[in-house]
Amino acid sequence: MASSSRPYHRSRNPTFKVVKMRKWKMTSSPFLCLLLVGSLILLSTYENDLSGQDDPTDVDLSAGILLAPKAFRAAAAKVLPSLVTIDSFGGVGAVQGRIGGIRRQGEGSTTGIIVSKDGYVVTSSFNFIQKPPIITLTTSDGKKHLAKPVANDNTRKLTLLKIESEVESLPVPVFLAPADVEVGQWAISVGIGFGDANPAISAGIVSAKNRAFGRAIQTDANISPANYGGPLLDIQGRVIGVCVPLNPKSTSLASGVEWYDSGIGFAIPLNDRSILEALKKGKDIYPAFLGVQAKPAKLDGSGVKVVKIVNGSPAEKAGLNKDDLLLQIGDFPVQDMTQFKTLIGRFDAEQSTEIRLLRDQKEQTVEVTFSKPGPLPKKPVTGAKSKSVPDKK
């Protein structure tokens, strides 16, 4: 009965509905115009019937909301040609034990999104947790292709695949920039995970932006292994992001699965082509590592003081010293220790940025290039002699 201890309830109280209604009117898109026109037509037809009633307005707006399912279906239908069904064969076997209540992870068919017409496909890395040696893709025209993984983004938990056979004109969907997404707007998740070529859909709203170190968009539409790798859509069928399991507190591949279908789901925006271009070169992306041990600054609280620099780390290469007071990383001022960690979390390994610091009462700026977190350097063995067991005589 794991269920009783886990928050499965999703609240959909009337206030949610209000937000949805409001958003719905604010967006001026062809799709919505269609819906609005629809509701206007309904309104005009209802007008006569309802003239005897006190307040016909509730019927008008209700009619509009009741039309939303048509838009959900249209949005899902629009993206369908750009979706692929991914099947995998073989692998190292399931990770032992349950993760998020799921006994065997990464089994079954999953969804991918075409990101270039020559056959690059993005999906969630979770789908390959068993490291399958053989992967096939089925495009929406029913053709089956072999595919191979090109690279992984370990910070966003994405895998880029390439179709191995010759393809030329695959349909690429429209990817939205996070700046064009608003909290409260409709969000529709689509996935092929239940073993049916026809995708399942779930509707909700955008719950938050800039989650997981600014990388993800949060939604209350259901996100689960059934649609990891599938798109989160806006009401017009444009891609807000690709659905992945995420938990900002962990980098493990399966973390975030424990929140499946809980009302907390994440999607990674794909409008930033630089990530895709890096992955296309076969380069895996890792979280950023700076290599300083720091403590809170004593004075007014802002900034952190460097206590120790890791040998050979990006911090050492950039010329950071013990007792430097770090004030700003990139565009973000350093406030305290917790925020300092999340600031570094915003970067990927091999990205460069400027660090503004205070050293000997003087402000200066250094350029730093983050590396990926390596294995911790071994401590030199000291005092081994004194601890050794004396030889028997």
């Binding site: 999703r10 206007l40 509730d58 073989g90 096939t136 089956k144 399942a200 259901n222």
Partner: protein, 340 residues
């Protein structure tokens, strides 16, 4: 009329820049939030709470729907129905003893009877009430939140998919094998099974089923048993799946002449070990070390899937087999022969 005009204006100009104004006076009216009132008012008197025996950590309660005016209740089958004191609580708080008159092991349904006339009930018919994307509301007693006269909980979602899939119940190998409606309201909670799933205008879509896990994703599913299957269950005309699955579809087993590698048990990929000489597989050119990717329209994740797909073949009836050889997928049309 003025109100209509005002709202017309607000709808038309809402998108252009009167957001602040429009959002204020469009949503100020509380009545506007009640667009599901009709559905809720219709569903609540037709849905009941059920209390019975609790065994260990298994909950002793559930939800049910009234399906006749003579006190017939359909719910999810469960051990809570096995005790001597099963009680049904109607929407008005009336508590009545109930007896189980039929169960279905495949769809995990139970039919109860209470000695009372129930003029408010869901008419079960074969006509589907909703399609993918439509709003649905689920009415249930999840986690036993409602006691006695308290109304049941109502959650909103959409119908995610109408599909046929196999699923398992916890660790058991009892399979749910039938059509179902996946919904995106969270109904995989204790006590939800037996609840009503209705459309935004109150039409019954189906009944929340027992907690099952998808055999594809191994996740707990939120779903409804479709109304037409409930109707068959009520009429006693559901086919017995346990008998059907053991009989061969054609009566005669088919053969392709393929033997798979047996390494790693039935969970290993379906690699071809040997092809029998003169067999259908040899004739079309299937070789050792080919990986069988699909057979008869089914994707084969492992050799166990191959065995299942091979059983569905009919001797003399052509089918398609797709194999992976080196870096290519090869598609063959193959006609199985009768197994000797």
């Amino acid at each position: 009329m003025n109100r209509i005009l005002a709202n017309l204006l607000c709808i038309v100009f809402g998108g252009i820049g009167l957001n602040a104004v429009s959002s204020e006076f469009c949503v100020a009216d509380e009545k506007l939030n009640g667009f599901l009132k009709k559905a809720v008012d219709y569903a609540l008197p037709r849905t009941v709470k059920i209390f019975g025996a609790s065994v260990g950590r298994i909950e002793g309660y559930g939800t049910g729907i009234l399906v006749s005016d003579e006190g017939h209740v359909v719910t999810g089958n469960g051990v809570f129905l096995n005790g001597f004191n099963t009680r049904v609580v109607l929407n008005d708080g009336t508590t009545l003893p109930a007896s189980v008159i039929r169960r279905d092991p495949s769809l995990q349904l139970a039919l109860l009877k209470i000695k009372a006339s129930t003029p408010d009930f869901f008419q079960l018919d074969e006509k589907p009430a909703a399609q993918k994307g439509d709003w649905v509301i689920a009415v249930s007693n999840s986690f036993k939140v409602a006691e006695r006269t308290e109304p049941l909980s109502v959650t909103l979602g959409v119908l995610s998919l109408e599909t046929h899939l196999t699923a398992k119940r916890r660790r058991d190998e009892i399979l749910y094998d039938g059509d179902l409606y996946l919904i995106d309201c969270i109904t995989s909670n204790p006590g939800s099974a037996g609840g009503a799933v209705v459309t935004a205008d109150g039409k019954l879509v189906g009944m929340i089923g027992k907690l099952i896990e998808s055999t594809e994703t191994n996740t707990r599913m939120n779903y409804a048993v479709p109304k037409n299957l409930l109707a068959k269950f009520l009429a006693g005309t559901l086919p017995d799946k346990t008998v059907e699955s053991t009989s061969e579809p054609s009566g005669k087993p088919a053969e392709l002449g393929i033997r798979l590698f047996a390494l790693g048990g039935r969970k290993s990929p379906a690699f071809v070990d040997r092809v029998q000489r003169g067999s259908p597989a040899a004739k079309v050119g299937i070789r050792s070390d080919d990986l069988v990717v699909t057979l008869n329209g089914k994707t084969l994740a492992n050799s166990a899937d191959f065995d299942v797909a091979a059983k569905s073949l009919v001797p003399g009836k052509m089918t398609v087999i797709v194999v992976k050889r080196r870096n290519k997928l090869l598609r063959f049309e193959i006609t199985p022969i009768e197994k000797k």
